[in-house]
Amino acid sequence: MPVIAFFSVDRRQLATLTGEHLWLVGISMLIVVAVGVPLGILLSRRPGWRGIVLGSTNVIQTIPSLALFGLLLPMPWLGARADRLAILALSLYALLPVVRNTYTGITGVDAPVREAAVGMGLTPWQMLWHVELPLASPIILAGIRTATVITVGVATIAAAIGAGGLGEFIFRGLAMVDNSVILAGAIPAALMALFADLLLGLLQRSLVRVRH
């Protein structure tokens, strides 16, 4: 099997690229959660901004990923470092599910629960911490899960601008017209996506089960 042959020959390069891929995805997701969750919370407080914020994150998602990487290339400071650029593009891409699910989760808290919390004298922060975030957490995590799987996939495109990752194999394989090289990139990327999905799915279920 050519795939097996490739794996045995170039295990070290596979490990390096997998590491790069994980790094791109990991840093991007940290940024997405750090920006997306607060943004979702903000939207729940300022419903008037909902259209513009969800609308623009939605528009970003409709841009083909290759085009988004290309569009960002001329940006100063960022353009010089391919990995920074890739991380920015990946973060923009993955923002929508996290913002939307945070917003949906928080506004989905039952009206009587919310009313009781206000009436009992919880401050807005206490409300967020004790009521809204715990109740929204399974939905927020579902958004993070979706975003992570998207990011693992889109991160293969990062190789097109020289940011590394498993896409290196895919683009190289395409150039060489060699399927085994393409698969050497595609299979680990697919496994990574499946693994991330499984892991976050388990976490999500454990959050729901905490109540029972």
Binding site: D110, E115, G119, L122, P134, V210
Partner: protein
């Protein structure tokens, strides 16, 4: 004790309008005495729940002044005001991700009580509402019956020992047997606790049974305040339909009863 000491809550020329400027409360003047249970009776949309929410500033008066303990609620810090007032609502609004114990303990904990004091207080109030601590403390709201959830809601409202209690149709969604049981217990409870209670209901029998006084509301206007005895005797046009409905129910029950057990 002078006059102002005896007043817990006071509405002075209060109007409340929604943003669309529909007037939900018109020129309300109402005094709630310390330690009494005042029933706000009226049909849906009469403004009784709005009146209740003006007390703990879930809503703010558009005009006029609501005073709690002699001070305008506008001058109170909203959070302090609400912690000074217990609040129990129809669906109980328990936090589904918290156990019974955590639900009841939340406000005392946020108020900075010591852990041991919080725990003993939770035991005390659960006992008060008829739920043995050992049996119920670790349950989640979805493991309780409707009546038990209401009891926990009441325990939670009482937890930080507020002098005033607001109750918005707390027994409204219960089956008749459970409702009667909770009403009976609440009657005994309010005597032991000597709290000021404002209780919203659309049920005449409940108003007569639980109230020291009944404030009758109709489309945003206060039609009068009566003791239960005065209410039953009143010839007021606004009161008549309620009394008639109450008497009719009694008559049907009595005749049906005699017919059944010949």
């Amino acid at each position: 004790m002078n006059d102002s000491d005896a007043v817990a809550i006071e509405f002075v020329n209060v109007h409340y309008r929604t943003n669309g400027s529909r007037e939900l409360i018109s020129r309300l003047n109402l005094t709630v005495h310390r330690g009494e249970t005042l029933m706000l009776l009226g049909r849906s949309g009469s403004g009784k729940t709005t009146t209740l929410k003006l007390i703990n500033r879930i809503l703010n008066a558009s005009q006029g002044e609501v005073r709690v303990d002699g001070r305008s609620t506008a001058e109170w810090d909203a959070i302090r005001l609400r912690r000074h007032i217990g609040y129990a609502i129809q669906e109980a609004g328990l936090f589904p991700h918290y156990t019974v114990e955590k639900n009841v303990a939340l406000i005392p904990s946020l108020e900075g009580w010591e852990t041991a004091r919080v725990r003993s207080r939770v035991q005390e109030v659960l006992q008060l509402v008829g739920l043995p601590f050992d049996q119920f403390a670790d349950r989640y709201p979805d493991q309780l019956s409707g009546g038990q959830r209401q009891r926990v809601g009441l325990a939670r409202a009482l937890a930080a020992d507020p002098p005033i209690l607001l109750m918005d149709e707390p027994f409204g969604a219960l089956d008749p047997i459970t409702r009667a049981e909770l009403q009976r217990e609440f009657r005994q409870l309010k005597q032991r606790l000597s709290k000021t209670v404002v209780f919203v209901t659309h049920d005449v029998a409940e108003a007569l049974m639980l109230g020291d006084r009944i404030a009758l509301m109709d489309s945003g206007n206060l039609k009068g305040v009566f003791t239960p005895a005065e209410f039953l005797r009143s010839t007021d046009d606004a009161v008549q339909p309620y009394v008639n409905a109450f008497r009719e129910a009694q008559q049907i029950f009595n005749s049906g009863g005699s017919g059944l057990c010949r």
